[in-house]
Amino acid sequence: MGKSISYKKIFQNKRQKALHGVEYVGLVIVLIAIWQTASSLGWLNPLTLPSPAKIVETFIALIKKGTLLTNLWISSRRVLTGYAISAVSAVVLGVIMGLSPHFKRMTDLIVQVMKPIPPISWIPLVILWFGIGESGKVFLIFIGGFFTILVNVVDGIRRIDVKLVELSNAMVIPRMKYVFQVVIPYAAPNIFTGLRVGLGQSWMCVVAAELVASSTGLGYMIMYARQFGQTDVVIVGMLTIGIIGKVMDSILLFVEKRVIRWK
């Protein structure tokens, strides 16, 4: 009896999982089908919106030619460099700002004013300062991630439970131990939120930078294709950016779950 119930449960769980899977991809499949049908029936102009089949074809062709992967690699490298710099500096600075009210007050106005400036509007200055080389793009990506991460880190650190502060005080915990074993773990969820949002920003910035001032990368590939009316390449480029963004976010989420095991 008990056994049959548990079998039933397993079966139900499996069925539920399958159902969730269907929900996850179902709408996408339906939309693509409608799109493909509309294209096949000739309702859509292939020059402005090519069919899914054509896009897949181009996708494969671009991979075979190596263009897609080369550009993807170049863009990814820029993102990872700029992002690594922004993540490290924003976390370090954020922890210090979160812990020191003096430092926070001194820097707050600058941060508050700089934060709302869209990273893209830095492009003219970046071109002036750095030209169109790698460093300019890395700088832009750095700007894109930095303030978002910083603000989240500071917020997380300042939210520290006063009861844990009192506890550490009562137990005469040394400052550094307090910072690394109490404050930072406590703020870890916020820090990760910042890191994830910041990564998304970094992706947007690399594409923006490459659209304007570059001769390599996914952004450049998109811009270049547009000039020749290759809408299929444009869409392949956009989808690649979307997919890589999602993959990177999933990786960070995985790391987060690994690090914050105690939740």
């Binding site: 009861k163 506890l167 773990p185 095991r261 105690w262």
Partner: protein, 252 residues
């Protein structure tokens, strides 16, 4: 300084200034002997926690002087352990790491051994590697007691440590506390609003009144141990505390 009390509290007051000024405790003076178990009772808001925190050195902005073992208390110290009402465990550390958290500069093996000794003392050997989210309220509070004891304090401060536990767990914890204290002969200052708990545990009971918080009376409780909660002697002390609270006293 006439006689040599182990702990002396002299004319201690604490005023909180903020939107409205609150005199949490006013002119509190008493002394304690080494190894004594003192319970502080009083209704909510009468300044029990404030007094305990001042004595433990966590609240330096007070008037008057607290001295322990001849030294004026100005800041927290490893010779004093504190247990709060909530266990206040670090969620990201397992039981052993939480217990070992206050230890500094110890060699790894020695630290491990000491931590295990205290984990065993509070009966959590089987949960050494568990995380706080996996523990019940009583277990979590045991961890926090082990953590307060691991530095072998001379004085243990406890602020309603069993206040959030169910009745059965509470009784168990009281007995364990007495057992642990029997071994170490610590001096204990234990805040509670549970009169039975105070009568069961203490050598003396300090009853506080409210607005402002002052000492109303200090009741001796020399009953031999182990104590029977239903014995006549027990009920007599209990009545004494009750009367102190409720006779000639308008509660607000």
């Amino acid at each position: 300084m006439t006689n040599k009390a182990f702990i002396s509290v002299e004319n201690v007051s604490r005023v909180f200034t903020g939107e409205n000024t609150v005199t949490a405790i006013q002119d509190v003076s008493f002394t304690m002997n080494k190894g004594e178990f003192l319970c502080i009772v009083g209704q909510s808001g009468c300044g029990k926690s404030t007094l305990l925190r001042i004595m433990a050195g966590i609240d330096p902005s007070h008037e008057g002087v607290v001295s322990i073992n001849g030294e004026v208390v100005k800041k927290p110290d490893k010779t004093r352990g504190v247990v709060f009402q909530e266990a206040r465990l670090l969620d990201w550390m397992n039981v052993c790491s939480n217990v070992g958290f206050p230890l500094q500069g110890m060699e790894k093996d020695a630290k491990k051994k000491l931590v295990e000794e205290y984990v065993t003392l509070v009966g959590l050997t089987d949960f050494k590697k568990s995380y706080p989210r996996e523990l019940s309220g009583g277990m979590a509070q045991r961890v926090s007691i082990a953590r307060a004891l691991v530095n072998k304090p001379e004085v243990l401060f406890m602020d309603e440590p069993f206040g959030a536990l169910d009745y059965m767990t509470k009784i168990n914890m009281q007995n364990e506390l007495l057992r642990i204290r029997e071994k170490s002969r610590m001096t204990v200052i234990f805040v509670t609003h549970d009169i039975d708990e105070a009568v069961y545990l203490s050598d003396r009971i300090l009853v506080m009144s409210k607005n402002p918080g002052r000492i109303k009376e200090i009741i001796d409780n020399p009953m031999p141990r182990p104590r029977d909660r239903n014995s006549e002697a027990f009920l007599n002390v209990r009545k004494q505390v009750y009367d102190c609270f409720f006779i000639n006293n308008v509660m607000d």
